[in-house]
């Protein structure tokens, strides 16, 4: 996937959410892809965040950053929480940038193999 930077604040603004300090920082999708692998997000969500039986879809069109961030830090559901000590705010912002940059795939109606 082509590497590019995104401004997390825009996405959060569109969602009508209050921006956290870290999410206002410019983040790197390229760094986020590395962090996504380094921190094991791919294990349950797939290399492109597509999801599966072990974890929900994260991309394309990720949920608002603040919602994602809150969940990552405090989840008491199936996903184990990631504290700031093991996943920094900067890395989390980069991961979000990576997820936001995942291109939208083809419409399932246009995939013959899904309409056999």
């Amino acid at each position: 996937m082509k590497s590019r930077s995104v401004v997390i604040g825009l996405a959060a603004f569109a969602a009508g959410l209050v921006l956290s300090q870290v999410s206002a920082l410019a983040a790197s999708a390229e760094k986020g892809k590395s962090a996504f692998l380094q921190h094991g997000c791919w294990q349950c969500h797939g290399y492109q965040g597509q999801g599966g039986v072990t974890g929900p879809k994260l991309a394309p069109n990720p949920i608002p950053f603040e919602t994602l961030s809150n969940f990552v830090r405090t989840t008491n559901r199936a996903m184990p929480p990631f504290s700031k000590e093991i996943l920094s705010d900067e890395d989390l912002a980069d991961i979000y940038a990576y997820l936001a940059a995942v291109p939208k795939g083809p419409d399932p109606k246009d995939i013959p193999l899904l309409n056999q």
Partner: protein
Amino acid sequence: MARRDKSPQGSAAKGPDVSRRKFMAGAALTGAATAATAQVQAATAPVAETAATPPRLPSALRPNAHMAAAETGTPKELAKAAGPDGSDFMVDVIKTLNIDYVCSNPASSFRALHESLIDYGGNKKPEFITCTHEETSVAMGHGYFKATGKPLMMLCHGTVGLQHATMAIYNAWCDRVPVICIGGNDIDAAYRAPGVPTYHSAQDINAIVRDYTKWDDQPVSLQHFAQSFVRAYKIAMTPPHEPVMISLDLGLQQEPVRAHERETLYIPKYVPTAPPQADGAAVKEAARLLANAERPVIIADRAARTANGMKLLVELAEALQAPVIDQRARMNMPNTHYLNQTERTAALISNADVVIGLELGDYWAAVNAFIDNGHGGLGVNEARIKPGTKLIGISSIGLVTKSNYQDFQRFQSLDIDMAGDAEASLPALIEAVKAAISSDRRAAMEKRGEALRKARADAHERTKAAAAVAWDASPISTARLSAEIYAQIKDLDFSLVSSANVSGWPNRLWRMEKHHNWLGGSGGAGQGYSAPAAIGAALGNRDIGGRFSVSIQADGDLMYTPGALWTAARHKIPILSVMHNNRGYHQEVMHVQRLANRRNRVAALGMDRSPIGTSIENPDIDYASLAKSMGYWSAGPIKDPAELGGTLKRAVEVVKSGQPAFVDVWTQPR
């Protein structure tokens, strides 16, 4: 124990330096044994230490002519034992049960039965299938039964071979599959050969599998064997189906039929036992609850033992217009039927007012959730059902519950709990349900059915949308992998004989309407099941004819029993094996990550992306070359999804020609 004959071997064995080869040479060595005994006597006679004493005898005397002839000459033809051979009679017994194959890695402890099977029995019914590991032998029988409904026999060393076989037997036990396991065992310590054959003998070989076999025995006479073998078969084939174990004494195999038995030996007639059925009064009460429920849910796990079981489940669901959740240990419900609502499991369970579970492996988990998070690492238990939800169960597994291994899962209280085989009990339940539905309920049921029809259609669209995400990704998504395979086999009478954990995509995307379209999983989740069980099932499908066997093979699983591939090639078993190569023990990848997070530590990755100890990378295994070396047509690794369809098409043609084919595909984790 059984070796009562006074054979030449008996006297020869008294000599301390008689080798195994000479031991086996039988009568020809009688003279040599005498000479050897003389040597020992001479060597151990008291010797006075005086000057007049003749010189010491050397420790090794020159052999006399008789001994030299015995050592170097061609053994004389062995005298045929008087009367028919014991193991020939065993073959006669085995043949009465119409067992198609015996899967085995050869071993001396059943050499007599081996020889009788191929030479006396003509290597037919059963035919010998050469396996490279005892785990493969059992797992092939596991898969074969699920494809054909017929059990196979496996032969192994009763000690070291059975130790290899145990995990596969446990899988069969958890999956309720009959396998007739025979372990060779040379019991008589006074007569068995020393050294390795004695290492390979034990008082009670069956002990290590007794916790997960339905019955076992160690016959001490041929008549005893006949009774035990037929009994073992009968017990294994009575639902709940389970593996059985017989310890087979080598002496009993090798000795001739005793004189007093020649006129009296008989083979008991096998008559199948009718499966246990649920109690009639309990069935009526369950039917009343179901017929009056607003939101009933049917959950099926190992309910449909046969194709008829599927028909019965459809009939029950349609009578109630109730959704079915197929937990897929068997092909219980056509996935195209509008009442198959497996994709909506969570919503259905949480809203149900009556739930009936049919042969559930884990009823607790069907109506509760365990969250492996929080509470200091203990995890959290949550009810998934509303308070007051009525729970009904029909299961035969309680009839054979044992103590040690925890395959019985957590305890779940039920409102109506029926001990019986679900498939055998369904006709009575269907009849009772139809009788219990009042005319004023029918309209509401029809309305419920229409709502379910729409809900299923919507759920299927969501499934396709989920499959489309990361459609062009590399490594290849498991949804794409599954769709590409289906494109090549959808017009064939396919049988998905085994599948790795690919998020259930085949069951969600393929049209599965026949019982053999899907054969379920391993049962006990013991690794090393998939490759041999798939090949065993493919063997059954080959013999039935017209079925195309396909397996989605996990990489970690294959490395337990890669030799199974050779067995498939050796015996010309056609199967398409497509590798879900995610390059790791992925369940453990996630477990170690979870624990690292819980302890607020960054998981050490080593040279891979997975925590140390969980990946199968660096070096990457060349599975295509591995399969090719075993005699498969093979291709891969395929990393570009655009290349997958063409490769699979070529592989399908190979399989249609009667050969096994293997395609290695680099995939997303799940």
